[in-house]
Symmetry: C2
Subunit: 291 residues, 2 copies
């Protein structure tokens, strides 16, 4: 079969400004990143909302191609990992970014405190079960990184145990990538002051009380410990096959726009084509006419 | 504690024009329903699209209240069952209706031909596993009704077996409703002629070939058998606790608008309130200030 012709704009590699600006290799200093910054984007909030809306169509198209590919044997999938402190905007990303693509092609898993059954298994057990199927965009709201974040900060397991997990995570992620899953790991990076404002809003509004727990304030005392744990996760687990992206998230509109662009900039280079028909179109047209 | 004040508009029962117009009790004659009709709606396609967009906010708000309720012990959930012939628009309902609400609160399950493991279990086994959790809107793209539709039309099991299933389904659905799940069963009702046009479009467009299979044309020979099987499902399983709604679906925009309204008209009477804070708001404000 002759090689498929591609449209002109696809012959050059797609540009990846958000990937380039937000990629955080090992050694990236988290404290040097402005949580109110808007890397790779010049506009204001209004512009950002328009830019996000404008991406809904193109990203949905890419997602549908990914999904369609799996119906003819394609194995590729996406795993979007969203991490961040409480109130960092994980829920908003689910609603305003992930909510932009066809829900049939998306599988969101929210990882809470492990159940008793989950605790009886290795920490990656529940993660493996939630990996995306071919063609899917899997989304993790929190992830296996909690096992080197809260578990480390609060000594939920001995240090000897969590210290081993970085290597286990890297081996695990390598295996996932080998199965043709593209991993996009996002840290929504917010300031402690911004968190105070967001918690205050949850206290001020009756329709937000259900999102608040007094424990959220207890946890603020461990802010620095969490930042150090995130730093370690980046230093130990930002690999070539699955790098971390640090997204400044004090401006919610920017964080959403950035994650949407990261999704687009990972889907585009996959050069997703509609599957070829495995039937004779003319023959089927004639059959349909008579049916 | 004093009874909560409710806003004025909630004291009267919400009106339910789409429920009233589309509800199909046992005995409803499917052949008498115009598949191009637009019951309970006066406008044209443009009006319908606007009306659908206008519902996104209110339905999202109701969905979030349902979800929030579960965080404080609420047990209620919704199960939206979508059935219809091939090309009836099930995928479009997933994308354009279900896609309007926060994906975190939604669980879509697409039921394909049963796997070998599923076939070793009673037909409701895989259905039970997919029931929505408290606070969720569960959506079935096909459902246990396939077990009295394709299974009946193609004799996948002996008649003695599928004939028993109607009663089993009613008992099962009664149990689901007893667990505080509101069931909304929708048949997307299309004509055989409309299906021909939609299949022709799939053949005409390279980006739609992956949705087409030659089997789709074979199945058209059984159109009447399927209609009779749907008629039987309505006659046997349109119960007081879980009635069927027949949605004319030759106009895609109407079908989507109708399903969105059915969702709204089932959520509204649940009178969903934001959970009360289980903490002292003032005390937490003071703690936050010092943190």
């Amino acid at each position: 079969m002759a090689k498929k012709k591609k449209s002109g704009k696809k012959t050059a590699s797609p540009s990846t400004p958000f990937r380039d600006a937000l990629c955080a290799p090992a050694g990236t200093d988290l404290t040097a990143i402005d949580t109110r910054g808007t890397p790779a984007f010049d506009g204001d909030k209004g512009d950002g909302k328009k830019a996000l809306a404008a991406l809904a169509g193109p990203v949905s198209d890419l997602q549908e191609r990914l999904f369609a590919g799996a119906t003819s044997g394609g194995r590729r999938s996406i795993l979007l990992v969203i991490q961040g402190m409480d109130t960092a905007g994980k829920g908003g990303v689910m609603r305003h970014v992930v909510g932009n693509v066809d829900p049939q092609g998306v599988a969101i898993t929210a990882f809470k405190a492990p159940t008793e059954e989950e605790l009886r298994h290795p920490f990656l057990w529940r993660i493996r079960k939630a990996l995306p199927h071919p063609g899917q965009i899997g989304v993790f709201d929190r992830s296996h990184y909690e096992d080197v974040l809260i578990a480390r900060v609060h000594d939920l397991v001995p240090k000897s145990q969590w210290a081993r997990r970085y290597g286990q995570i890297n081996a695990f992620e390598q295996g996932v990538v080998d199965q043709e899953t593209t991993i996009i790991k996002v840290m929504l990076h917010t300031s402690k002051e911004e968190q105070k404002e967001r918690l205050a809003e949850r206290l001020d509004r009756g329709d937000k009380h259900w999102k608040f727990s007094p424990v959220d304030i207890d946890e603020r005392a461990y802010w620095q410990d969490y930042q150090q744990a995130y730093q370690a996760a980046i230093d130990r687990c930002s690999t070539d096959v699955a790098p971390w992206y640090v997204v400044p998230a004090d401006r919610k509109w920017y964080a959403r726009l950035a994650v949407m662009n990261l999704l687009k900039e990972h889907l585009e280079p996959m050069d997703l084509q509609w599957p070829e028909a495995d039937f004779d179109v003319e023959k089927q047209r004639a059959r349909l006419e008579k049916s």
